[in-house]
């Protein structure tokens, strides 16, 4: 099933990836080619087959909820692009009222 340019715009918005000139055509063509290969999955009968999310026997291991050392505030912020008063600084999230 080929991907339309409208779908590319929608997916890019969901993925939070800006589109630059030429990107829509590029993704539409390349993703359509890959999806064409992937569509062969539809040939496989899977009605009674359970899905596999992970392959080993480990399920929900639990541990005691005890405090242990963690990063300091300084360490947690050390790689931040922008910091203010010991917090991550980001551009405005809401329009001003």
């Amino acid at each position: 099933m080929p991907l339309t340019r409208n779908q590319v715009r929608h997916v890019a918005q969901l993925a939070r990836i800006a589109l630059e000139p030429g990107d829509e055509e590029f993704y539409a063509e390349q993703l359509s080619g890959i999806l064409e290969h992937i569509d062969r999955l539809q040939e496989v009968p899977t009605d009674d087959i359970p899905p596999t999310a992970q392959v080993v026997e480990v399920t929900n291991p639990l541990r005691e909820d005890v405090p242990r050392p963690c990063l300091t505030q300084e360490e947690a912020l050390a790689n931040a692009p922008a910091v203010v008063n010991g917090m991550f600084r980001v551009p405005s999230i809401q329009e001003e009222a």
Binding site: L3, Q7, V8, H10, V11, A12, L14, A15, R16, I17, A18, L19, E20, Y27, Q30, L31, G33, I34, L35, H37, I38, D39, R40, L41, Q42, E43, V44, T46, I49, P50, P51, T52, A53, Q54, V55, V56, V58, P61, R63, L71, E75, A76, A78, N79, A80, P81, A82, F88, V90, P91, S92, I93
Partner: protein, 486 residues
Amino acid sequence: MSELTELTINEAARLLRLHSISAAELVTAHVERIKQVDPMVKAFLRFTPDLYEKQADEADEKLKRGEGGPLTGIPLAVKDVLCVRGVETTAGSQILRGFKPPYTGTAVARLFDAGAVMLGVTNCDEFAMGSSTENSGYHPTHNPWDLDRVPGGSSGGSAAAVAAGEAMIAVGTDTGGSIRQPAAVCGVVGMKPTYGRVSRYGLIAFASSLDQVGPFARSVEDAALVLEAMAGHDPLDATSSDRPNDVRRDFEKGVKGMRLGMPREYFEVEGMEPGVNAAVREAIKALENAGAEIVDVTLPHTDYGLAAYYIIAPAECSSNLARYDGVRYGMSVQDVDNITEMYMRTRRQGFGTEVRRRIMLGTYALSTGYYDAYYLKAQKVRTLIKQDFDQAFSKCDAIVSATSPVVAFPLGSKTADPLSMYLCDVLTLGGNLAGLPGISVPCGTSQGLPVGLQVLAPQWREDVALRVARAYEMASGVKAEVASVA
């Protein structure tokens, strides 16, 4: 080329223990080798002199006291996806340029505890997505056997460093073949353990249900020693197993009486190079001559593996890579009006073409209206692929095949066609979908370039994969050699 850069772990450990050489001398020999060949090979992204000088000194102190184990003083290279405290770690991506992890991941920490000496950080495809290391956000790496060709990928830097004698051992990660395929095309040993054998704590995630950390080395025994040092339960990774760390059990027992399965489908894949096919069949003949029984097995869903993988891995990646948003670390586009614009422009600029392509594909596969047709369907086909292996292993102890259907290809020859690149992993990704351990060992050449024999074993049977690989190494006399790098 110094002889010190051609040693195996046991050879080096013996010289270190006899005080014929020091760990500092061993490191210096590798640093000299790096200076000589890395300008051509470009296996490394950055070097860690503060770390290797300190670790070599500590190793020498231990050795003086008669302490330490087989890895004490052994020069190590680490793929750029494993966090090392204070060492810039970028997953081969511009979006993480400058990121210095505040902690060291478990697998690498265990190698440090065992006395390994870290020389530097090796190049890889961005976020481990690729089969040629050409998707690195920094520069391509060159195959030490032919500098005009790729080293495979995604752990191409680690494979090339070991092949060129720049490091004795290396760590990589394998999500669809990213250890085994570069090992094969660089002529070294590479192993992907069972999912859950090695902790993923401190590994920059690509596809969490498939990713595993594993070793590169120039002998099967060295790979086993490195794996053993990294393996075992880690409370910081809930998917790591507490099964016994018995990977070297029966290591030298040979293949006499073992049944080795040849999956018909793996010898008929699209694009299989005749020279690769011939080298692998000859290797299997050597195992038969060493006493193994060769049996035909079938993996009927092989043709659907690539399609299932290219839904599951991108879906998981689209979720894992959502964290790169320009807020907490890495690149951030700051001249913006609002936060959504910051996210979108940061991710457009910071991620390369292949990573964006996979995030888009994964996002699409998980989006409303398509989840059942793609993601759920792929997970069901994953069940069938796992069942294929279960049935095959009821008829044999291990599965043998080529690792890569082709030898190292020329740089640039597959970059325009993503599907042709993805087909490089057609023989390895089944092992990831089913969570199996798999190893690639050098088994001769085609067109004068290295070919790898892949051995896959049932879950938790690294001992079987290693035993077969070791038996092949002994029976054939084929050894991983250091490339001279012309």
